[in-house]
Amino acid sequence: MHHITLIGLNHKTAPVALRECIALSPDETIAMQAGLGEHPDISETVVFSTCNRVEVLMAAKNPENAVQVAKAFLARTKKVPVAQFENALYVHHDAAAFRHLFRVASSLDSMVVGEPQILGQIKEAYLAATRQKTSGPLLNRLLHRAFFVAKRIRTETGIGDRAVSISFAAVELGRKIFGTLENKKVMLIGAGEMAELAMEHLVRQRVGEIIVANRTFERGVAIARRFNGQAIRFDECQAYLKLVDVIIGSTGAKGYVITRDQVKRSLRGRRNRPLFFIDIAVPRDIDPQINRLANCYVYDIDDLKGVVDENIQDRKEEAVKGERIVEEGVVHFQQWYESLSVVPTIVALRKKIEAIVDGEIQHTLSSLNGLSDADRQALGRMRNALVKKVLHHPTAFLKRNGCQKDRTIYLDVARKLFDIDE
């Protein structure tokens, strides 16, 4: 009987300094899978590594031994002594390993709960493992179940629904105002890392024209070129208020760059089309009073942070539903996993009974003389019927779904009662 074992470390157990020492490159992952696969004790293996975690999944006859082998392998591959990372490692067997894998795959264990990348990374690693043929019947089934659980959690809970980054929260708000951001005109005032990040998100939403206003015109031109936009002089902002729909403020200016009066004057010319200000500058660029004007919406960095915090809270609530789905998945998989060990037990049981009956028949026959062939055949039939009848009830009982929860206990008892393991 093979056991499924998982060892690994992640952002919760290991600091980034340690994670970067242990993280495996794709080549190292392949080498590790191949190396572990050759070990006689380990029948199947899948390894995956991201910037936040390294996980080694194995099916092995002797799990303790397999763990030692994997540790040694990691140490050798990364040239780091085992003692240095041993404390950060977690080891899970069977049900605990399934649960861990399901939680990782459905992003319940991620640094940002609900992020969608991890599932793709695991799928890729699994694909590599199947190509290398290091994954077998046990892990194939386990990983397929993990993908199924992850997909179910994504569709049935809102775990990945809401934006959890500042720039994506701004995009989400934009969609609640405009319906779609497609072809909306965007003006970027100033420049900054976060402003450019927000811009990238907006570009992905296929916004229309992009206008960049910067105090240093040359710098503005450089940014505009990056986003395929148009640079304007800083004092032209006012004129462009009439044309654009989204304005990102990100200058280092001390006072407000866009004032309430400026916006108010442009409203009529805009025919009251909505105007969305994203102010990520500190100190602020956009006068907060603008938010009180009709069809104008101003979100500063704290407002956006507030939205993000709210969304993270939402995700946490959704994650609770996700945990329940994981538990269901674990129970499901365990049923299948345990049914694997029922068959060998029944086979062993049958052999044991047959051996006892055969022994006794031999013993009796040796003292009986003058039996015809027909008599012998009748005895043979009796022997078969006896074995069948003795085993009928125990077999049915072990196979029955009724004792699923404690099947391991019953299997253990059956093995002990009939002294099978000796």
């Binding site: 708000l173 969609r175 609640k176 105002i177 405009f178 319906g179 009529r268 805009r270 025919r271 009251n272 089309r273 909505p274 938010n291 009709a294 069809n295 919406y297 979100y299 407002d303 507030g306 939205v307 709210e310």
Partner: protein
């Protein structure tokens, strides 16, 4: 007819419940169920009104009971057409309870039909009644879109994103839906008023008689005309447009019922209890 009206009433009620559950749980099938139930109710409702018309030989607006039944029918019909065209799933949360409310009120009022006079089957009168009812139903929906717009705008402006923020669509869609309802409602109502004036000329000999009902109908029309004018010329939209759509709907309700109860006029018999 009676039993069909009650069945329709039941369907509308269940549809409202369906939309309420959709609002809370956000499952698409709930919206589907709500829509289908409303459609089923509308079919029963149509058959009931058709039978009533067939038996009495006149359009069923002879008393408050029948008038409300027709109003409910028009609202359901307009909603079905609009939700088919506009794809705003959540709109039913306003329409289904409104229709249910109209129907429940209808079943609670007494029903003494006025005498079926031959002039009831005048072509201009039938067109007048149908277009006015359909137009007012569309304007009722415009008021609903206005309410939803204000709720959503409030959430975005105050930055407190609660229960409704997630569930309501974008401001653009809410505003656009309200506008579409407004345009079609105003067109139908204009048509209804014109045919009513023609009918008045053919029966009483003059187009306009300064009857309270006529005055209030004129006020309603002017209100909506002003709203649409502002929208088309300077782009009045969003909050102000939503508020006016709600006020407009309140004025319609008053013109529809209030005038007959508090003021007197030549439409009085249609809402007689």
């Amino acid at each position: 007819m009676e039993i069909l009206v009650l069945i329709a009433c039941g369907f509308y009620f269940l549809s409202a419940a369906g939309y309420l559950f959709y609002l809370i749980f956000q499952k698409n099938y709930l919206q589907r169920v709500g829509f289908d139930l409303l459609l089923a109710g509308f079919i029963c409702h149509t058959i009931a009104l058709g039978l009533g018309w067939f038996h009495s030989g006149v359009i069923p607006v002879r008393n408050l009971y029948e008038t409300l039944l027709t109003a409910g029918w028009a609202t359901a019909g307009i909603f079905l057409v609009f939700s088919y065209r506009l794809r705003m799933k959540i709109f039913g949360i306003y329409a289904a309870p409104l229709i249910t409310l109209i129907m429940i009120v209808a079943t609670q009022v007494a029903r003494v039909p006025v005498d079926a006079r031959p002039l009831f089957n005048n072509f201009w009168l039938v067109v007048h009644i149908l277009t006015i009812f359909l137009g007012e139903a569309a304007l009722a929906l415009a008021g609903g879109a206005g309410v939803l717009y204000l709720i959503q705008e409030q959430a975005i402006k105050t930055k407190r994103h609660g229960f409704f923020y997630k569930r309501l669509p974008s401001l653009e869609l809410l505003d656009g839906t309200g506008y579409a309802c407004l345009i079609s409602g105003f067109t139908l109502m204009t048509f209804g008023l014109v045919t009513g004036i023609i009918y008045a000329k053919s029966v009483w000999g003059h187009f306009w008689s300064w009857d309270p009902k006529e005055i209030w109908a004129g006020i309603t029309w002017l209100l909506y005309a002003a709203l649409l004018h502002e929208r088309l010329t300077v782009g009045w939209r969003g909050r102000r447009s939503a508020i006016l759509a709600i006020i407009g709907f309140a004025v319609i309700v008053f013109t529809f019922l209030g005038v007959n109860f508090f003021l007197q006029g030549h439409h009085g018999e249609f809402t007689r209890l």
